[in-house]
Symmetry: C2
Subunit: 230 residues, 2 copies
Amino acid sequence: MIRIIGFDADDTLWHNENIFDRAQERYRQLLARYHAPAEVDRALFATEMRNLRLYGYGVKGFMLSAVETAIELTKGTISAQEIREILANGQDMLAHPVDLLPGVPEIVPALARDFRLMIITKGDLRDQERKISESGLAAHFHAVEILSEKDGAAYQRVLRRHGVAPEEFVMVGNSLKSDILPVLELGGAGVHIPYHITWQHEHVEEAPQNQPRFRRVDRLGDLPPLLAEL
Amino acid sequence: MIRIIGFDADDTLWHNENIFDRAQERYRQLLARYHAPAEVDRALFATEMRNLRLYGYGVKGFMLSAVETAIELTKGTISAQEIREILANGQDMLAHPVDLLPGVPEIVPALARDFRLMIITKGDLRDQERKISESGLAAHFHAVEILSEKDGAAYQRVLRRHGVAPEEFVMVGNSLKSDILPVLELGGAGVHIPYHITWQHEHVEEAPQNQPRFRRVDRLGDLPPLLAEL
């Protein structure tokens, strides 16, 4: 019997990956005279993965890896002015208005009347706090957890800290890898709402099989009627 | 009667500002042929303050502001190779071994037997978690709070979340501004242990006056005998 709903934030409550996508498109254009787009993408992703241990997730790490990759890909011939553009690009991302996904402004407050809601997200502390505050949704959430990683151990700590049993918990999010699989593993329920773009690092081929507590829906509006059966 | 002790982390449990200091010295050297050291410091600090709202505290924001300032101060003539050095500099900071302050390895475990200990720090999520983990002290702390800002509202949220009354709480740290003044304001106790370097942003001229719950000591070893009288 579900009593607590955990929501991922980026690409679950509001658009995010499309902002990264547009930033990456500008980045490809900036480097277009040096390399083909696919090579730019490959090199940037490799830098991001190499730096993940030091930087963690979020826009600031993306910016730093983008500068590093640009220097690498141009063999040091990129101009300071072009690097300035990469930084300005990232600052635009950090200042981007919060754009709620369809259904969120109605469904979150409605669910908050019957369930305890939590936000469980990862990324830069300041950036996520800004988005939560700007979203206008903060008052509906009983707790906000901004984590450096969303794996089984991290979910276990969060559930323990809030005195939540996995049986009464469902996690809702767009990433099978970060939102759904670790929660199912702990005995919780998971509802996957895919976003139309998935960052390569979050990509998982297969939906979970033989998992009675897993569902996939197309939109947040499909969530409420499911909750009684999880 | 004190029951819970909150510890700041950087420059209270382990060295930090000396790492920033060395990084800033390398940065001054890199820009020495363009500007005098004092001008480099002034410009970097101005960029950091301008970006604080977007980046928050921590090494990644420092790195991004250092790149931006270098481009500005050299009117775009800085080379990509020099920018690469600024990034490498920052990555060294993020990988720097945790160097505990004197007394910490003995006093923290001893206090943990009689008090509930918490770490209350700000900065980059991933970086602070790494340092806490590498410090070997994690097991002695009942809770770790990594915040985007340490002001009165933030302390109030933390105390409420953990069911702690200000009367039974003392905060120990090197920053009057972030560790002591907001806690005294809430009715808690504060013990200031200055570090030999203070970042300009954390600088406060005056120690609190007429505050019976404020103490200043030279070293962590002076803390335990004070706790009974706060």
